[in-house]
Amino acid sequence: MSIRYTKDHEWVLLDGKIATVGITQYAQGQLGDIVFVEVPAAGKALTAGGEAAVVESVKAASEVYAPVAGTVKEGNAALPDAPETVNQDPQGKGWFFRMEVANPADVEALMDQTAYDKYLQELAG
């Protein structure tokens, strides 16, 4: 089990066929204070790169995209009442949803930690 990242700053942690998805430390820092979160309902079909959840800061609304295709198992029910959790612990308690992935190899194909760190350095460049 290892963590993978998308260019849109989602993280994915795969355990068997179940992936936990959230937004990265970098993403929460860019968004600022998160005041609203909408997570998907169980059973929702997700396509890779399709809209999966919503996160809003004081300034703006943003979409959280599905990193790979699959089906939602559960949304993080704690987030809508405590959206600030995403700022406080984005890669822990601030996870957005769990999904059953159609093809685990799709997750492996995403960026690993080293590649994502390099990607962030390029963005900062």
Binding site: H9, V58, Y65
Partner: protein, 377 residues
Amino acid sequence: MTIDPHVKNIGIKSTPLHALHVALGAKMVPFAGYDMPVNYPLGVLKEHLYTRAQAGLFDVSHMGQATLTGNDVVAALEALVPGDLAALTPGQIRYNLLLNDDGGIIDDLMVTKADAPDTLYLVVNAACKDGDFAYIAGKLAGKATLTRHEDASLLALQGPAAVDVLATFIPAAATMDFMTSRLDTFEGVPVRLFRSGYTGEDGYEISLPNVSAEKVAKALLAAPGVQPIGLGARDSLRLEAGLCLYGSDIDTATSPVEAGLSWVIGKRRREQGGFPGAARIQKELKEGASKKRVGIKPLGKAPARAHTEIQDASGKRVGEITSGGFGPSANGPVAMGYVDASLAKVGTPLNLIVRGTALPAEVAPLPFVPHRYVKKA
């Protein structure tokens, strides 16, 4: 997640405080052609709450400042705005609207009657300033002379602590009434003070030479109870205060009556007219406008942003949100928008179409957070 890539702007303008913003750790974004701080390390939410609790310092040097002079400058400018300028005594400020011939709003602006005879001081929006000043100078050619002050910066010190902070540098600041202006000095720097603002709080706007802007800003930031505040919190503060953002809540397609700004039009001006679009505006004052700007309170937690469709209870489209977001002091979503006049009554149920879903909302009184202007110093 969608995150704007770092914007590398070539040719973007900056204010004299740009280096200070960067040194303070601001996140800079392009706004109205300027590279401006959207927030500092404190973040929009805490900056907003800090301003309501203490005092926030805003750099609004991108706004346009000008002096208008002429033998009959008041009558001259009254030909372009509906506010009663003749009633102003020296040092008084009036919120006003620059109108086009259709009665649409070209910009909103602050007009101050200066102590010098036959002189008005104008402060207009950054994005509109070139157009405004060209319009005014063109329309008033031969009657008044407009002099832009591009050598002047503008700071805003807003919040309940602003008076005590500023009075340590300028004692007379504490004696000013809201919506008045005076000339003074700040540690030797000549300044024009305005007791006014865009947050709903008591506070000041300080016009001063560009060369002294950083020195004065640093002196204010060193005072206890002052934090630098970015444009992000400026927007959420003014939204909670029910104040219009030009280009979002008002524009050339909206009239003062539709915008709920009829109060700007003095009694004498209502009767006499003599401003652009007077016929339409006088008709709307008598008969009402077909649409109206209202406060809108989403009843759930989801913010409704600008351009969100508004429907009535039957599902018919009745308008659009023009400003909306999360109100940190209101502790929930707040919005403003235009609805059919028949639906403008406080408490009227509406639906907001957010990401394809109808979310319940209702017409709410403005402001969302009570104004705390100082009425009498």
